[in-house]
Symmetry: C2
Subunit: 125 residues, 2 copies
Amino acid sequence: MWHHGDVATASVALTSDDVAGCCSPLTGGVLDTSAAERLAIVFKALADPARVKLVSLIAASHGGEACICDLVEPLGLSQPTVSHHMKMLVDVGLVSRDQRGKWAYYRVNAEALDRIATAVSSQPR
Amino acid sequence: MWHHGDVATASVALTSDDVAGCCSPLTGGVLDTSAAERLAIVFKALADPARVKLVSLIAASHGGEACICDLVEPLGLSQPTVSHHMKMLVDVGLVSRDQRGKWAYYRVNAEALDRIATAVSSQPR
C-alpha cells in the first residue's frame, strides 16, 4: 500500500491495485497533491545510498533473492540498521519480504521499479 | 555536475559528461558506493512532494518553460521556499535555470529524467 505519510509507518507490501494507483507521469501534466506525495514517498525510499545499494545487491543475488544475513556485511552497517533500511524499501513496495525460519529473504519488485521508471521518463509510454 | 554530498551545496548544472557519469542501473549489478551515492542524491532531490509538483508544473508549462513567478501560487508556498526547492532541482541537473531580467526561468532536463528512468528500470536498455 502506498502511504502518504511517513514511509516508516507503512507496513503492507504493494498489491497490483496499489501499483496501478502509484506513479503518475512526472512530465505528463500537472500532478495533484496526492499523486505528488505518492511519488515523493517512493523517491524518499531510494534517497539513501545504503538503500540504493541494498536494491542493487538483492537484484544481483543468486535467483534474485537475498537473505538479510547476506546483506549486512556488504553494507558495512549493523544488522538493525540494515533491517531498518529494508523495512523502508518493503513498506513502499520496492522489495518483498519472505520470513523463512530464522531469516528474512528479500526480492526486488520489478513491476514497481518499472512503474517508477515510466513515471520519470520524459517520453510517457 | 552530480555532487556526492549535500544537494544544497551543488551549484553547477549537468553537463553531458556528468549525465553520462550518473545513473548506473539499479538492478544491473552491485553498485559501488560512489554510484549508489550519485543515484541517492538524485532521488533525494525528488523526495519531496513540492519538488515533484514543481517538475510537473514546469514540464506542463507553455513551451516547457516556467517563470518562478508562475510557480509560487500553484505551490501555495512562499517565494523563498519555492526558490529553495528550485535550487535543489537545478543543483542535481533535473532542471535548468535561465535568469532573464528580474525573473528566473526554468526548464526540465528531459535527458536527465530519461537517464534516471533507465537506471531504475528492471529491463536495462
